[in-house]
Symmetry: C2
Subunit: 210 residues, 2 copies
């Protein structure tokens, strides 16, 4: 029903709502949310109607209600635990990313094959890859992030899948095959930069010929 873009927009609305709440706003109009998410107010209302979220005609939406409704959709009503496989630069950056925790996302452990990176005596331990299955089972982990080199990614995914992981965000620059009943999203940083390059150059050409 809802597509990826729609869920991304819901996240953006929610972030904006939380900011507005800290400014002591109580009500918000679809037009306000449209501005922060860079979409139209129709889009906002359409997104809400998809999930049966309704406001007050003439009176907009109550921010508190809206936050809790969107939060429920996005699974923010409870803490969601993730593990990170591959503790290179990206993996480390994710483990130290400050704003996850205040948004109910908790990275609970890292895994790596390099024993020099292992460390159990910290809040978020870095463990050997062999312990992944046991850890996932014992801690009931559903989600994981792959930040290993491209050649290792598919194998790591299969390891995670066999351990029972159901949702994966992949930073390795390769398009992974989704196992059955497992959601995989690929983010390729190089590809994102290439996108910027293409559209910038394209806009320049279009601008020049105008």
């Amino acid at each position: 029903m809802a597509n990826k873009s729609c869920i991304i927009r819901l996240s953006m609305y929610r972030n904006a709502l939380i900011r507005l709440k800290t400014l002591n706003f109580v009500k918000v109009f679809s037009d306000n949310l449209a501005d922060v998410a860079r979409v139209t107010s129709v889009q906002v209302r359409k997104d809400f109607s998809l999930f049966g979220i309704s406001g007050n005609r003439r009176g907009g939406y109550l921010i508190d209600e809206l936050i809790s409704q969107i939060s429920a959709i996005l699974g923010k009503d409870k803490v969601q635990k993730f593990i990170v496989i591959g503790i290179g630069n990206i993996g480390k950056a994710l483990l130290n990313y400050p704003s996850f925790k205040k948004n109910e996302i908790e990275l609970v452990a890292g895994f790596d094959i390099d024993m020099n990176k292992h460390n159990r005596d910290v809040e978020v331990p870095i463990l050997p890859l062999e312990e992944l299955g046991k850890f996932v089972a014992e801690n009931e982990i559903k989600f994981g992030v792959i930040s290993v080199p491209d050649f290792a990614a598919q194998e790591v995914l299969e390891l995670m899948f066999r351990a029972g992981i159901k949702g994966v965000l992949n930073f390795a620059p390769i398009c992974l095959k989704e196992p059955p009943d497992c959601v995989v999203r690929n983010i390729n940083l190089e590809t994102e930069l290439e996108n910027i390059i293409y559209f910038t150059n394209f806009a320049e050409q279009a601008g020049a010929s105008r």
Copy 2:
């Protein structure tokens, strides 16, 4: 004409082609590329036709030709220089990301307001934010990455824009307003994880009710 997804697919085709080339492949069929990019072969041919790339009926495509044609589209015929603003965890990870350089993407400098992070005596210097305008002008930089906290992002974008930057990848968790003649893409890591959570939970429910 081409949309974002199409350019992402071109990047994926190119990555796959480079791998195939190292395996001494000479020719490739649209069906092969479809497999690596997880799309259909019609999609591949349609993408190519959009850019006037043609192969040999019955004989597929010559890998060398294809790589150079896609490379030209993606601006890989020359090195593209980027700067990184905000040298936190993400910024550092990007500066150390190994595979950019072999794909004609060069991160040439970092910028930060924290003087403890400044360092001129390395290959990729970390400079004070005040020097951004001068550096961009002297080194003819067109592209940049924002990896500062959310509250600083819009201001940094405007600084970059005034300096002459034309394309920006933003990692700050806020949807930035595109200045005129400047391309901005937003990647929000939290939102990506929220996406995984939603679609995983959704798939589970759908699976359970089946």
